[in-house]
């Protein structure tokens, strides 16, 4: 089993509805219970910000600072991380500091926020993701890229560079500046990045597929197996060497300048890729499955990803499962808990009713959240 990565302490200052809160965790799973609006999800969100990016709600930093607070918010955590014990501090939202989020690891400023991935990897599942299969392709791409990022820390940089270069090309075309040499320069960079992104995604899909097929018997009986596939960019050219793909895509970009100018955007590229998910046994697109089945497929994907991260890094990621009990029948719930245990990572879950988590008694710490205060509850179910 991989090493256990766990959060031992979490402190929030001026974050969402919390002015000042310190929680200590016992290394086990954690279940936050409480009424709607009590602030359970805010706690998961705080944990999600211990990974690079804008967290599980894709927040605007200034909005996440507690209303009435003067500066931004600050989060601090002590973790038993992949590189041993570490402290992580992060702060953002103070107007004077600009729009950046700053990260400190073990008391020193981190060179990049990606450095967080050296200590903890965090995966989440939120109700907002329930519409993932029926929603826009952009949401699935982001979901995919987040998963890729957890196993390939360079992926975020790659995607950001690609999007910036693409916006630059769009700008040139929209301004009617058909400067051949300049466009060629941008397109050469775009082609290199596009192929790197497509290859990273493809590699990831291949690895995840292996794990999905290998899902343990018990899980397989409870959670429908998903088959995943990438579509929408160089679909028929995956067999080519990367450098040939780059040459082809650069040539295709050069040819499509007028078309892209007319459309006002780039019509081809990895930014148009989609993650196709199919209910394997029924050979039915996930988008056409029932709501409950969709949730089960999604849970299956997230858990397979967590297993992949554990296998690749030697440390299971921390799982954030918001309102996880909803949509799952009792037998699936029980299976879910045993899979989470089997993964070996620390899981943080929320729910309105502690009884939904009764199967976890003794294996989890139960904390009740009520209007910004958190108290340990002794389970009496």
């Amino acid at each position: 089993m991989p090493d256990k990565v766990a959060i031992g302490r979490l402190s929030l200052t001026d974050f969402r509805n919390y002015s000042e809160l310190t929680l200590r965790f016992a290394g086990k799973h954690v279940v936050f219970t409480g009424n709607n609006g009590a602030g359970k999800t805010n706690l998961l969100e705080a944990i999600s910000l211990l990974s690079p990016g804008r967290g599980m709600r894709r927040i605007t930093y200034s909005e996440a600072a507690r209303e009435g607070s003067t500066g931004g918010f600050t989060l601090f955590a002590e973790v038993e991380g992949m590189a041993g014990p570490a402290t992580i501090g992060t702060t953002a939202g103070d107007e004077a500091e600009g729009g950046q989020r700053r990260v400190r690891i073990n008391g020193a400023a981190a060179r990049t926020n990606e450095a967080l991935l050296d200590h903890v990897r965090i995966t989440w599942l939120t109700p907002a993701m329930d519409g993932l299969f029926t929603g826009p392709a952009g949401d699935r791409r982001r979901f995919l890229d987040r998963m890729v990022l957890a196993v390939d820390p360079g992926h975020g940089r790659r995607v950001a560079d690609y999007e910036k270069a693409m916006r630059g090309r769009n700008r040139l075309l929209s301004e009617g500046r058909f400067d051949r040499a300049w466009l060629e320069g941008i397109e050469a960079q775009l082609a290199e990045l596009a192929v790197a992104i497509a290859v990273a995604r493809q590699d990831f899909v291949r690895l995840l597929t292996i794990l999905l097929e290998r899902a343990p018997g018990e899980a397989a009986s409870r959670f429908p197996k998903a088959a995943i596939k990438l579509t929408g960019f160089m679909d028929d050219q995956q067999a080519l060497a990367a450098s040939d793909m780059e040459t082809r895509f650069a040539a295709s970009l050069a040819e499509s300048r007028w078309r892209d100018e007319a459309a006002g955007r780039m019509l081809e590229g990895p930014h148009r890729q989609d993650l196709e998910v199919v209910h394997a046994e029924k050979s039915m697109p996930a988008a056409q499955s029932s709501t409950g089945e969709q949730k089960a497929l999604l849970v299956g994907l997230v858990l397979a990803h967590a297993r992949l991260v554990g296998d690749l890094t030697g440390a299971a990621p921390i799982l954030l499962l918001d309102e996880i009990a909803a949509h799952l029948d009792p037998s699936r719930r029980a299976t879910l808990f045993s899979i989470i245990d089997d993964l070996g990572g620390q899981a943080f879950m929320t729910g309105t009713d502690a009884a939904l988590f009764s199967a976890l008694e003794g294996r989890a710490q139960f904390l009740s959240v009520n209007a910004g205060t958190v108290t340990e509850t002794v389970f009496d179910g």
Binding site: A165, G168, R171, A181, W182, G185, I186, A188
Partner: protein
């Protein structure tokens, strides 16, 4: 709003200091206080140095370097091989390369990189000046020492295109394994760049 405890002169000094890269409002206050306390040993000579810099320092009309003379000391140096030009984005890069001291040659400072999103086009950079220098003859090699960022590489690509057909060798800095680096720790992009740019041993 906190009550102000200093007069407008000191406040202005702090605000100006705060605009210096690397200084924020807080460190600017510290610097201002330090300068005021060390009036004779520090503030006075600093003010003089600033005045001299304002009056004398300019941009070299040939290479874009900053110096008190035009052409600058680098361009005027007879000891340097003026037939090789290292193209850099910024004067800071020129200084960095000079610190390395690996090549005793001429420079050309672009003054930035092509960036459509920041409204920086070829005409905003000192690219025409470079083409002129090459066209004037006597240049054997252009070394593109731009950053390994998307903008830097786009700019390198553009310059290569502008110099196409001219009788000059164009090279660029190697991308790959840093000195003292371990292969194990490098990302795939760097490794594959290093493999592509492998050299004879």
């Amino acid at each position: 709003m906190a009550k102000r405890v200093t007069g407008p002169e000191i406040e202005r000094l702090i605000q100006l200091l705060a605009r210096i890269p690397g200084l924020g409002p807080r460190s600017a206050r510290r610097a201002a206080l330090h300068l005021i306390k060390k009036k004779e040993p520090l503030l006075a000579p600093l003010a003089d140095a600033l005045a001299v810099a304002r009056d004398k320092v300019g941009v070299c009309s040939r290479c874009g370097n900053v110096d008190t003379a035009d052409p600058c000391a680098v361009c005027a140096d007879p000891q340097r091989d003026q037939s090789v030009i290292i193209v850099v984005e910024d004067v800071a890069d020129l200084w960095a390369l000079e610190r390395a001291g690996a090549m005793n040659v001429a420079y050309h400072v672009l003054g930035g990189t092509l960036s459509p999103l920041d409204g920086v086009g070829p005409d905003d950079l000192n690219i025409a000046g470079l083409v002129e220098r090459v066209a004037a003859g006597g240049i054997v090699e252009i070394v593109l020492a731009v950053n390994a960022t998307v903008e830097g590489q786009t700019t390198a690509h553009y310059i290569t295109d502008r110099l196409a057909g001219m009788d000059v060798k164009i090279t660029r800095l190697a991308h790959g394994v840093p000195v003292g680096g371990e292969l194990d720790y490098l990302d795939e992009g760097t490794l594959s760049a290093a493999l592509r740019a492998r050299t004879n041993f």
